[in-house]
Symmetry: C2
Subunit: 339 residues, 2 copies
């Protein structure tokens, strides 16, 4: 099983405590990616957000800088908000990243969990699904053919156009990043794309029926079993002990969830709620390496097998040195337990 | 005077001789940028092209990788084809690059000398000037204000939108990259933007009247003299001696110019033509460091002063080691002569 990290490049210049400049936050993020590579983690993903509080509106730039400072780790997005982007530009950026990294680039294409990109790029939320379907179609055509003819509703047609550069990897890895929408799971299966499932709350095993929808759609479309890979993205944090992990993680997690909850209409987060999420069947991957490894294996079994798990470590707004310690434990303790 | 290099990230995988993979070409380009930084050059620019033969369709990705491997050199585009891009994305990318590089990023915005971007992004060449004017206006608004209201013809309106991340530098440096169009020189002056003039053929001093248009427009608009900077971009190559430089540079230069000339209706390049261009008043910066330094000072005087000169070294398709030697001579011999 591959172990990785996803980061949304938190902007900390506006923090009440431990504020640091955006340039220093970027430097520390790049240092963490390089460290993840050194300790042997398999993947580092950068999100895409278009709002105050995040530095990742241009994630492939951060990944390109990381590519120059790493040797083995695979680098991708988490997720590319494809609905709001031009697939031609997105492909050019990822192909360039693939050249820079010597074939270590990936893309997780999704619709995004925030909606800021829609007004920013003049898009209508009524087209939420249609935009994604059309843009994914174009992206995969560009990936699979150097020269294409294409027409659609949301972008000017391409007549015998060639897109450069071409990536090192062929086919270039494109995952579908999904939340809880059943049609998204079916779409990924039908297209034979690997599936990255974000499970950031509730009980992880409850996603099994949706993953079955994915595998079933994939089989029906005739894709071989080994193409139908499932990855799991969850919030997490590894400490020296489970107790220490809980104590370090909870305060920042509660504050962050309560803040997002205000926008989305969730109730404030309580300690009891956190402990349920951090318990044996909950979505949070918080604890000692041993406890979390056991939990990941439990989740993997419940979901019918997973090939990658990525941790979102930024949630609790922990200081750089604490996150680095966590990355060290992920490489040195967690990874060997899951190999 | 600042000394720099501009590269268009030549794709060499299709070359008849000395073909190398695109990944190796990218690795060598990044190595040259790191070397340019080590020998003390001031600037490295990456172009933007959307055609076979170039690896720079996403120039800010290459610059982000370079930023991670350099300490002092300033990094920018040469040029960003702003007419065909979304200024929001372009700003996000450059702001991210500025964070990654710790405030060493720049942009040279232009209309591009090839027209491939127009059909690729569904644009009409009839809008060549209107596109640039509108997009530059939006770009500068985003640069100067975190939250903006804007509407135009070629992009959806922005209503009270904030664009992130914000760059380290304020204002973020935006140059105008121009060829020979008089209205472009006047526009740069009126806006008080530094001017990057591409002079790739003919006699450099003949651009003086256009540069006077720039300075006059700038003065009329009330911009202080020190904001009205002029940079010069030319094809060049420094050898140990002028004879050696001519012998190394000519064959590849003639082949490349003849090839582009076929598309643009120029006659084939001859040795006599080359020697005129490489002579005292011609545009080519080819020769020994001493001869080229003298020539640059002559050009600077003829143009009323220049603050930066950038060399396009890729034209003659010289091997990586030869270009590296040239970069070494630029840092160790040419730069001290122009300081």
């Amino acid at each position: 099983m591959e172990i990785g990290i996803d980061s949304f490049a938190a902007m900390m210049s506006g923090n009440e405590n431990n504020a640091i400049s955006d340039a220093l936050a970027m430097e520390q993020l790049l240092e963490r990616i390089a460290y993840a590579d050194q300790v042997g983690l398999d993947y580092f993903g950068i999100g895409e957000h278009h709002r105050k509080g995040f530095l990742d509106s241009a994630p492939t730039l951060i990944l390109a800088a990381a590519a120059a400072q790493t040797k083995n780790i695979r680098l991708g997005t988490a997720v590319t908000v494809l609905s709001a982007a031009d697939p031609v530009r997105v492909f050019q950026q990822h192909a360039t990243l693939d050249l820079i990294s010597g074939g270590r680039a990936e893309m997780v294409a999704g619709r995004g969990s925030f909606i800021d990109a829609y007004p920013l790029f003049g898009l209508d939320l009524d087209d939420y699904d249609a935009l994604f379907v059309e843009k994914l179609d174009l992206l995969l055509k560009i990936r699979d053919h150097e020269t294409i003819n294409w027409s659609g509703k949301f972008r000017p047609a391409l007549r015998n156009q060639s897109i450069y550069p071409r990536p090192v990897q062929n086919p270039f890895p494109v995952w579908l990043g999904v939340g809880g929408t059943p049609s998204s799971f079916a779409r990924a299966g039908t297209l034979g794309l690997p599936l990255m499932v974000a499970i950031i709350g509730g009980e992880t095993h409850r996603f099994r029926p949706l993953i079955d929808v994915y595998r079933e759609a994939g089989r029906k479309a005739g894709h071989p079993e080994d193409k139908l890979k499932v990855g799991l993205h969850s919030l997490g944090y590894i400490g020296e002990t489970t107790e220490q992990a809980f104590e370090s993680f909870y305060p920042g997690y509660a504050a962050a969830m309560t803040k997002i909850g205000k926008e989305r209409g969730w109730p404030p987060t309580t300690r009891a709620h956190f402990e349920a999420q951090a318990g044996p069947t909950g979505a949070l991957l918080v604890g000692s390496a041993e406890d979390v490894a056991e939990k990941i294996l439990r989740h993997a079994k419940a979901l019918g097998g997973i090939s990658r798990v990525t941790f979102q470590l930024d949630t609790a707004e922990l200081p750089h040195s604490t996150i680095k310690d966590c990355i060290g434990l992920m490489g040195k303790q967690l990874k060997p337990l899951l190999h």
